[in-house]
Symmetry: C2
């Protein structure tokens, strides 16, 4: 490489980001260098700020800039509903749909015997605690429809059984989905949960 | 979005990088926030350094950290060969193959009537100047095999005609290439330029 050490190091570091590889990292870095005053300096400043201020909410695990996140501090969101998700990205996806008005609880992963991830490694004890103390009336298990996600949902349902109303997201044909492209499991689930028109 | 303003701004800025979209920018930013001490702070520092030091070589247009790049200052590379490429990324690709031992000239694009890019917008006057003053014996036109690339190559060949030996990269079947997957143009070019075994 003819570029000097810092530029090479920047490419190498960018290439480690999810979604970027060596080639796209080189393209991104060249783009940033070409627009260094407009793009690279502001981006570096912003990263510096976020690195200094971003933290996980001590209550729910959401990412924000305070010890307790905006959703946990908002009284409006204290409607007794608690939506359990695996990851902050899932929380953001739920928020984009703006269908849910309650609070969240981010587990930070799923139970996994293979990776030795038990309830203590996730935020499950904290969840049980919150259900008991925050006046929760309904826990919505919005975990991914994967084997690990569903195993974790079953475990949580067992732990909270009888204490609170437990629900999970409906399964079926996604909006805009074509039957021909759906897997057998989804079609079976949609058929079993069919509704009268 | 439940995340606060700086995090949103960072996602928005990352989503503008080539190769990243809104979804992959969110994934990348979450990844960076999770590893903020290990990844986000060093990345921000490195970007700051590169933003302050990176510049285009005044002679050839390569990206480096000095006014004249390492290749242009290296006496070893002054072998009379000058390789003309469209973009710094092409120069880096040539350097990775380590087949070329001479110097480069980065045009910074191709001639384009539609986008009103003429010879003055590229580094073509500087190229003609370098050929006259740097003791160049051969100019290798390593422009992309696109219509714009080839138009630009023809224009440069016209300008330098008679002053220097002019060559271009060979066209043919790429290493590891399967005939069935190649376009007709490549196969025709490879057939016309066939060699005796």
């Amino acid at each position: 490489m003819s570029s000097t050490r810092d530029i090479d190091a920047l490419i190498e570091m960018m290439a480690k980001l999810p979604g970027l590889g060596p080639r796209s990292a080189r393209r991104a870095v060249l783009h940033l260098i070409r627009k260094r005053a407009l793009l690279l300096t502001p981006l570096a400043d912003l990263m510096q700020t976020v690195a200094a201020t971003a933290r996980e909410c001590l209550n729910c695990g959401n990412v924000g800039t305070s010890d307790i996140c905006d959703i946990c501090t908002s009284e409006k969101r204290a409607n007794g509903e608690l939506c359990v998700v695996e990851d902050v990205a899932d929380l953001w996806a739920m928020e984009r749909s703006s269908v849910f008005k309650g609070r969240y609880h981010v587990l930070g992963g799923t139970l996994s015997a293979l990776d030795a991830i038990g309830p203590q490694e996730l935020r499950i004890p904290r969840l049980i605690d919150r259900v008991a103390t925050e006046g929760i009336t309904e826990v919505i298990l919005a975990l991914n429809a994967t084997i690990d996600g569903q195993t974790t949902a079953h475990y949580i349902a067992d732990q909270l059984d009888g204490q609170v109303r437990l629900t999970s997201l409906a399964q079926g044909v996604p909006i805009g989905g074509e039957l021909d492209y759906l897997d057998d499991g989804t079609i079976s689930a949609a058929m079993r949960a069919r509704k009268s028109v």
